[in-house]
């Protein structure tokens, strides 16, 4: 009986939002062993590049203590118990054995920028620096046929082993001609299909690669879609947000290097360790939300007192992401921290459905019947007025010409 219940439970909730933070001792002991074997295998293998992690840390004047702090934080973020810390530290050093190919499709390169433009590289960025980036369309020096050759080489050498990172959406309109790459004029779609074929897994980073993002916003002129809409039969991880948080990219690579597997995903293929929680539930302004204290306009008394940004259109209550916990730029700050609402950048269709800067109830969105954009309440009041007029006409007509059933007296 109990395993039947378990089965039903699994069937229905495997893709649900539930976040299991404690999977029990035997699970972790078992995982620990598997990770150890995995790491010793990796250590024995040939590093793909010669970068030495501790050297790089030293060059950036990050001491052991800072590194260990980072290790604890990363272990906790991956929802692993503290006993995994030494393994996480080891995995960080072995990052140069994880071959990565990075494609750049229809986008603004914001996710690469997020990695590169930090004020001084922090450990997250360094870890991503030393992963063996075999091919990165934006960063590499090679161009033209030479770049093409480099890609072919990387794909052949690490066949079935490389992680494919994809940034940007895939334009499907006009046979994909909105975006082509390379000397042969290969469309983004064909390019992605070719390179994803031999990847161990595909990691879509940023709002565009995951759900189409801004290129896919109405009216979506290029018919942009996300990676999971075209790549089938491959493990895919989505790390949405605009830009994706480097911490979460590291988390996914780290999890892969450590366990050889992808982290647990939600129904939108987002890792639960990062997207299992709502912004709203970990927001520092939440007390003001519950109190009914809202910023009414930019710069008012409420804004000066860090009141809740709900009435300025904050979409934290409908957005799953961990920026309210890990923040950006090595936890310096995050959007709501600097006083502007969440625009739901980690959710599908965020530009159309979340990013208007007022509460949904008050925003002009497409009415269900199509046509002019109205707020839900305008639409509702419109319907109500129509109904009211209808009823009014009926009432007057009844009063004037109606027949009262009173036993033939009238």
């Amino acid at each position: 009986m109990s395993d039947r219940i378990e089965g039903v439970k699994k069937l229905f909730t495997s893709k649900s939002a539930r976040v299991e933070t404690n999977k029990g001792e035997s699970y972790y002991l078992d995982l620990f062993e598997r990770c150890q074997t995995r790491l010793s295998d990796l250590r024995a293998s040939q590093p793909a590049n010669r970068l030495d992690f501790s050297e790089v840390l030293k060059d950036n004047s990050i001491d052991r203590r800072d590194f260990m702090k980072w290790v604890s934080a990363t272990t906790a973020m991956l929802m692993l118990p503290p006993m995994f810390s030494p393994l996480v530290a080891e995995a960080a050093e072995l990052m140069n054995r994880a071959p990565v190919i990075w494609l750049e499709l229809q986008d603004c390169a914001g996710n690469s920028e997020a990695l590169l433009r930090s004020d001084g590289p922090k450990i997250d960025e360094i870890v991503l620096d030393i992963i063996s980036l075999e091919y990165h369309e934006t960063l590499q020096a090679a161009a033209g046929f030479q770049a093409e050759k480099q890609l072919e080489d990387a794909m052949a050498t690490f066949k079935g082993k490389y992680l494919l990172f994809v940034e940007g959406s895939i334009p499907m309109g006009m046979n994909g001609q909105y975006g082509t790459i390379g000397a042969s004029g290969e469309t983004f779609h064909d390019h992605l299909m070719r390179v994803s074929k031999d990847a161990a897994a595909v990691v879509a980073v940023g709002a565009c690669a995951t759900f189409g993002g801004i290129p896919a916003a109405a009216p979506n002129p290029t018919h942009a879609v996300g990676v999971m809409d075209v790549v089938k039969g491959k493990p895919i991880v989505n790390i949405p947000a605009c830009p994706a948080n480097p911490t979460n990219m590291v988390g996914v690579v780290m999890h892969y290097v450590l366990t050889g597997q992808l982290p647990e995903l939600d129904s939108l293929l987002r890792p639960k360790f990062a997207f299992g929680y709502r912004i709203h539930d970990n927001c520092e302004r939440r007390a003001h939300f519950d109190a009914g204290e809202y910023v009414e306009e930019w710069g008012d008394k409420g804004a000066q007192n860090n009141f809740c940004l709900y009435k300025m259109g904050c979409k934290g209550p409908m957005t799953f992401n961990n920026c309210s916990i890990v923040r950006y730029n090595e936890a310096v700050n995050w959007p709501i921290g600097v006083g502007r609402g969440c625009i739901g950048c980690s959710e599908p269709d965020f530009w159309d459905k979340y990013a208007y800067e007022r509460p949904m109830a008050n925003a002009k969105i497409k009415a269900p019947a199509g046509g002019v954009e109205k707020s839900v309440d305008e639409f509702g009041l419109g319907l109500l007025t129509a109904a009211g007029i209808g009823i009014g006409i009926h009432a007057i007509a009844s009063a004037v010409g109606g027949k009262k059933d009173d036993g033939g007296e009238a």
């Binding site: 799953f320 599908p348 639409f379």
Partner: protein, 233 residues
Amino acid sequence: MSSEYKQVKRMTTAGRIIHWANAISMVVAIITGLYIGHPYYQTFIADGAVDKYVMAWNRWGHFIVAIIFDVTSIVIAYLFFFSRFEKAYKKVIPTRKNITEFFEVLINLVTLNRRKKFDSTHGDSFNSVYFLVFHLLLIWMLLSGLQLYVSGLESGISSIGNWWPWMLHIATDWTRVVSGGTVMDVRISHHYSMWFIVIWVIFHIYYQVWRTIFWKEGDIAIVFGGSKFVKEN
């Protein structure tokens, strides 16, 4: 005039209690729901955040009436099929008889009561279908509302037991898919549906009053005393 009026029982006590519990809950749900959607009063009062708790109370009120709706819906769903008094589902099955009755009642409304060719002693098909629409709207409100609610229970833990969020996921995760893919779509739909319910309520009240005035059978009394009066001839 010699015709006698006979009293016919139309609603049980339980039915009337449910009706009024629903009516009051609906008013509360609409007032608190609109506040949740766009907080429209009391933002600057000089108490500490913990003391006023305005949004929290509104959400609390909204959820309490939601639970009342939940429970009464289950009771109503049961009565719909198994009531010993009047099994309402028999009136919404599209049989020839029901369809004819449905249109006769509609024609009665449109012709301003000039034509009345059905038996108004018992509940009629038109009203039964109209109520069915309401119950479908209400069920949608419940499920979409519970989906919004369960997104705040992401740890899967609840003070009343982990079965609660688990069950809510099973029962309501599909609302995301059908309303457009995101939690926001569920919320948009939840808000639109409120307006459909408001319109439903307005016509419902108008129609019951209209019947009372034009049929002269005291229909409005059904919901208070449980019965109406029809002429015996």
